[in-house]
């Protein structure tokens, strides 16, 4: 019997090499950084999908999030990258881990047929659509080697948040949303089980 776990990790290694190679081939040494980040993103996502244990999946998501942060930094958006690490890796992931630890492990839940089938269908479908789209759509874009140096600093983003003609309204709305969501989360999580079980009985059959 082939050890599926070993096959999967070998596949991941091959993917990593392929991505690094692609980066190196298309942009030289600078492309290696891209390859590394892409490896983190896609590898993390694949592991998350693959692993039986929810804890492992959750931790592998950390790689995805960190890879995304790397992308942001590569794209000159330092502040967004830092925010990604702080909020996603530090906050959201921690929250998800709480959820994971409060629910029981269910090792029989992953069905290989479903995962494999899903990957196959989705992979083929997305690849086909992407190829068609890439062939037919011409994006207005600057070539990679002619990009100007990233101009936006964290300070600009801070000003954009509070400047009346830019993002102050969405910013305030986001603040209100967060407050409401957190209060609601606390409220929902604090409800007792009796609150729920009482309801179906009262609901008059």
């Amino acid at each position: 019997m082939v050890d599926l776990q070993k096959v999967f990790y070998s596949g991941l290694a091959l993917l990593a090499i392929a991505l690094h190679g692609w980066g190196l081939a298309s942009a030289g040494p600078a492309g290696l950084a891209f390859g590394g980040c892409a490896t983190l993103v896609l590898g993390g996502a694949l592991m998350c999908l693959w692993e039986r244990s929810v804890v492992r999946s959750a931790f592998s998501l950390m790689a995805t999030f960190t890879g995304c942060a790397g992308f942001f930094i590569l794209l000159g958006a330092d502040f967004v990258g830092m925010a990604q690490i702080l909020i996603y890796v530090g906050g959201i992931l921690a929250l998800l881990l709480f959820g994971v630890m409060l629910s029981p492990p269910d090792m029989a839940e992953r069905k290989l047929a479903r995962v494999g089938g899903g990957l196959l269908v989705m992979g083929l479908g997305v690849a086909w659509v992407s190829a068609k789209v890439a062939a037919s759509v011409k994006w207005a874009q600057l070539p990679a080697d002619e990009l100007p140096a990233p101009s936006t600093k964290a300070e600009d983003i801070g000003i954009a948040f509070i400047a009346p003609d830019q993002y102050v309204v969405p910013f305030e709305l986001a603040a209100v949303l967060l407050t409401v969501a957190l209060v609601a989360a606390v409220y929902i999580a604090r409800r007792r089980i009796s609150d729920f079980t009482a309801e179906p009985d009262q609901g008059g059959r």
Binding site: W22, F65, Y88, L147, L177, A185
Partner: protein, 100 residues
């Protein structure tokens, strides 16, 4: 790297997120999938922003998406906890009171 590379990785991540939602039978994986999809969208925002004049809008959108994701994760986890308390399971298919 060119824009196409970022978009390709983003598309792949998006696809993986969808598969995660569809293929795993645990409500937590649905959350994981959603987070992946949001991140894929964020990569697109930032990449298109960078390759189209390096303005500010794409980044701001990315930041707002992150904020939304935080709010969503908090509420969703509270719901997950309650569902687990009530049904003793984290499978969404077990929460089926309305179906009867």
């Amino acid at each position: 790297m060119a824009l196409g590379a970022y978009v390709a990785v983003s598309a792949a991540l998006f696809a993986l997120g969808l598969v995660t939602i569809a293929a795993r039978r645990n409500i937590l994986y649905v959350l994981f999938g959603i987070e992946m999809i949001l991140n894929a969208a964020n990569i697109n925002f930032v990449a298109f922003n960078r390759f189209n004049g390096d303005g500010m809008d794409g980044r701001m959108f990315a930041i707002f998406v992150i904020i939304l994701a935080a709010a969503e994760a908090a509420v969703a986890l509270a719901i997950v906890l309650n569902v687990y308390h009530l049904f003793g399971s984290t499978k969404p298919s077990d929460a089926d009171l309305l179906r009867e």
